[in-house]
Amino acid sequence: MTKPGIDLTPLLRQEMMPTVWCPGCGHGIIARGIATALMSLGLDMDQVAFVGGIGCSGRAPFYFDANSMHTTHGRALAFATGLKMVNPKLTVIVPMGDGDSMAIGGNHLIHAARRNIDITAVVFNNSIYGMTGGQGAPTSPLDSRSTTSPMGSIEPAFDTVELALAAGATYVARTTTFDFQEMPQLIAGAIRHHGFSVVEVLSQCPTYYGRLNKLGEAPDMLLYERDRTKLLEAFGPPPEITREEMVGQLPIGLFRDEERPEYVDQYHGLIARAGGGKSAS
C-alpha cells in the first residue's frame, strides 16, 4: 500500500481546489483513498475517466486531473456504461452518493451489476442527503433523524453490500473513512477487478447527519463508524453472517471477488460472431 505522506497532487486538479466539501466531511478521505489507489496502480490518467452524479459526492470528478464527467442525479452509471462500451481502454470510476446510487439511481446500479460491466462504483455513504441539506436517504438507519424524518425514520435502510451482491456485482466491498488503511487497497482491488465493482465507504457528514443525530464532531463520527462496524477478515472468504448480527456490527471488508463474463467482452464476442470486425473504439 502507498505510504501516508506520499504526494498525490499530480493526480489532482489544482485549479478546482479547495473542494466544496465541509471541514470534517468524510468525502475528502474517500477521494484520498481513490487517489492513493490510483497511485498504487500507476494508471495513466489520460486513460482514467471519472463519471459522477449529483451530490456532494458527485463533485469528486472535478478534483481529479483525468477525464471528468459530472452528470445528472442518479444517472452516472448509465453515462458510464455508454462511455465504457465505446472506449473499453478507459478505466471508469463512478463516485456516487447513497441517494444518488440507491434512490434515484437504484435502477442503473442494479442493471450495471447484472451486466457485470467493468466499471468501479464507489458509494460515498453518509446515510443522508448532504448536498440538499440533510434529508432522509434510502440508507438512513431506522429511527435516525433527518430534516424529512424529524421524528426518526420509519423506513428500513438499504444495505448497499446486500443489494450489490444480489444484483450480481462481482467485486463487493465495504469500508469506512475510519478504516483508511484498508480503503485504498479495497478500491485498488475494485479498479483492477475485471467486472462491475461496488465499494461502499461509510462516510461522515458532520454538517447534517452528525448534527441532526447528535453524533458530535467529525472525529466523534469516525469513532462512531469504528464502533458500529466489524472488520471481517479483510480479504478473506465471504462472511457467514446473519442479518441480526449485522445490525449492531456492520461487517466491513471484501464480500465478493469473483470472475464472471464481463459485459463489454461479451459484446465484443457478439461483434466477432456478427462479423463486425473492429470494435467502435
Partner: protein
C-alpha cells in the same frame, strides 16, 4: 428500388451517417429502429445496448459520445418525456447526439399505435432552462432517411442534440424507395495543445482519451468546462454563441419544400406526415380556383421565422394543419404578427387529415375573408 419501412430507413440512414452507438428502450412505434440497430450495430463493429429505461438510454448515448462514438437513441412520447433532463445535459455540455421521437397520441400512454404531432413544443422547450436545439421532421420514408443523416451532420457541426420527429404512421409506413446519397460529415480529430478550450466558440468536439483532461459538467461553466466564478455569465456567453451561430447559418440548416407559393392567397403551412395530404389539398384547391400554396417544413427549430415571413409575404391567410390542438401555429402566428389571419386546424384523435378536410378548412377560411374563387361554393 425497394420497399422500406420508415423506421428501417432511419436505422439504415444512421448506419450510413456513421452511427456506431445505439442505446434504447422498447416503445411503440419506435421499436423497429431499435430492433434493426440490434442487428446492424454488431455487423458494423458498433455498439448496441438495451438500457433499463429511456433516462439511461440517452445517458448512455451521451456517455458514448464522450467516448468517441456517433450516438443515437429512439423513442416515443413517454420515453421522450423521460429523456428531457438528460437532453438538457447534452445541450449544456455541447454533446452531439441524435434523438428520434416517433410521436404517438398523448398525453401519457395515449394512443400507442396512432400518429400525433404532440411533441413539437416539447422537442424545443421540454428540458428546463435556456438552450438551443435542432428539430427536424419528415413526411416520407425517403425523407426520413435524408433527415436522419442530416440530423447526424448537424449534431456534429453544432455540437448539439438533434431531434428527429417522426410519427406512428411514418414509422410504420412502407414505401418503394431509392435512397439518395446524402453526404456525411465525418468527425475529424483536431490536434490540440494545452491552451485548448473544449467549450470555446466553434471548439471541435474532442472526446475523452485525447490527452486533454476535459471536465464535462451540466453545471454552468466557462469555456474551459470548469464551473468557476461568474459561471452564470460564462454560460450565457456560450449559449448566446450557439444561438448566434445557428442564426447565421439559418439558411443552410432550414430544410423545407414549397409548392405553388408564388401567387398563393392561402398558404398551408405543414410539417411531417401532414404534408402528404396538404400536397393533394393544394391541387384540389387550385382545381377549384382557390390560389393555395404549401410551405412544408423539415426544420422546425430553430424557428425559421425568416422563411415563414418570406414565403407568406403576399398571402392573405395562413392555415396550419397539425396533429395536435394547435402548437406550431403559436410561433407562426407570432411571427406573422397580425399581417394576415393565421388559422389552426388541429386534431389529436389519432387520425390523419384527409386532403378534403384541409380543402374544406381552406375554403372556409377563404370564404370568411372573401378571398376570390370560393364565392359560389
Amino acid at each position: 428500388m425497394r420497399l422500406v419501412q420508415g423506421n428501417e430507413a432511419v436505422a439504415l440512414a444512421a448506419v450510413h451517417a456513421g452511427c456506431n452507438f445505439y442505446s434504447g428502450y422498447p416503445i411503440t412505434p419506435a421499436t423497429e429502429i431499435m430492433e434493426m440497430m440490434a442487428r446492424q450495430m454488431p455487423k458494423t463493429g458498433g455498439v448496441f445496448i438495451q438500457m433499463e429505461d429511456e433516462i439511461g438510454s440517452i445517458a448512455a448515448a451521451i456517455g458514448a459520445a464522450w467516448g468517441g462514438a456517433k450516438a443515437m437513441t429512439a423513442t416515443s412520447g413517454p420515453g421522450f418525456s423521460l429523456m428531457q433532463e438528460n437532453l438538457g445535459y447534452a445541450c449544456m455540455t455541447q454533446t452531439p447526439v441524435v434523438v428520434v421521437d416517433s410521436q404517438r397520441g398523448g398525453p401519457s400512454t395515449g394512443l400507442p399505435t396512432l400518429p400525433a404531432q404532440g411533441e413539437v413544443m416539447q422537442a424545443r422547450y421540454g428540458t428546463h432552462g435556456d438552450h438551443e436545439v435542432i428539430v427536424l421532421t419528415a413526411s416520407s420514408v425517403v425523407e426520413a432517411y435524408r433527415m436522419t443523416v442530416e440530423a447526424f451532420n448537424l449534431s456534429e457541426r453544432y455540437r448539439l442534440p438533434v431531434i428527429l420527429l417522426l410519427d406512428a404512421v411514418l414509422s410504420h409506413m412502407r414505401e418503394n424507395v431509392e435512397f439518395p446519397d446524402v453526404p456525411v460529415r465525418e468527425r475529424v480529430m483536431p490536434t490540440i495543445d494545452e491552451n485548448f478550450l473544449p467549450f470555446g466558440p466553434d471548439a471541435p468536439f474532442v472526446p475523452f482519451g485525447s490527452g486533454h483532461h476535459t471536465v464535462v459538467t451540466g453545471m454552468s461553466h466557462d469555456e474551459t468546462g470548469l464551473p468557476k466564478a461568474l459561471a452564470g455569465q460564462a454560460v450565457q456567453r456560450i449559449l448566446r454563441g450557439v444561438q448566434e451561430r445557428l442564426a447565421q447559418d439559418a439558411r443552410e440548416i432550414t430544410f423545407y419544400h414549397e409548392m405553388e407559393l408564388a401567387d398563393a392567397d392561402i398558404v398551408l403551412l405543414t410539417y411531417g406526415i401532414t404534408a402528404r395530404a396538404a400536397r393533394e389539398a393544394v391541387g384540389l384547391l387550385r382545381a377549384d380556383g382557390v390560389k393555395a400554396g404549401l410551405l412544408d417544413l423539415q426544420t422546425l427549430w430553430p424557428f425559421p421565422e425568416w422563411l415563414i415571413l418570406e414565403k407568406t409575404q403576399a398571402a392573405k391567410a395562413v392555415l396550419v394543419p397539425e396533429l395536435n390542438l394547435g402548437q406550431y401555429v403559436i410561433p407562426v402566428r407570432a411571427a406573422i404578427a397580425g399581417r394576415c389571419p393565421v388559422e389552426s386546424l388541429g386534431r389529436c384523435d389519432g387520425e390523419l387529415f384527409t386532403p378534403e378536410a384541409m380543402v374544406e378548412a381552406a375554403k372556409a377560411l377563404a370564404h370568411s375573408l372573401e378571398i376570390g374563387g370560393v364565392a359560389h361554393d
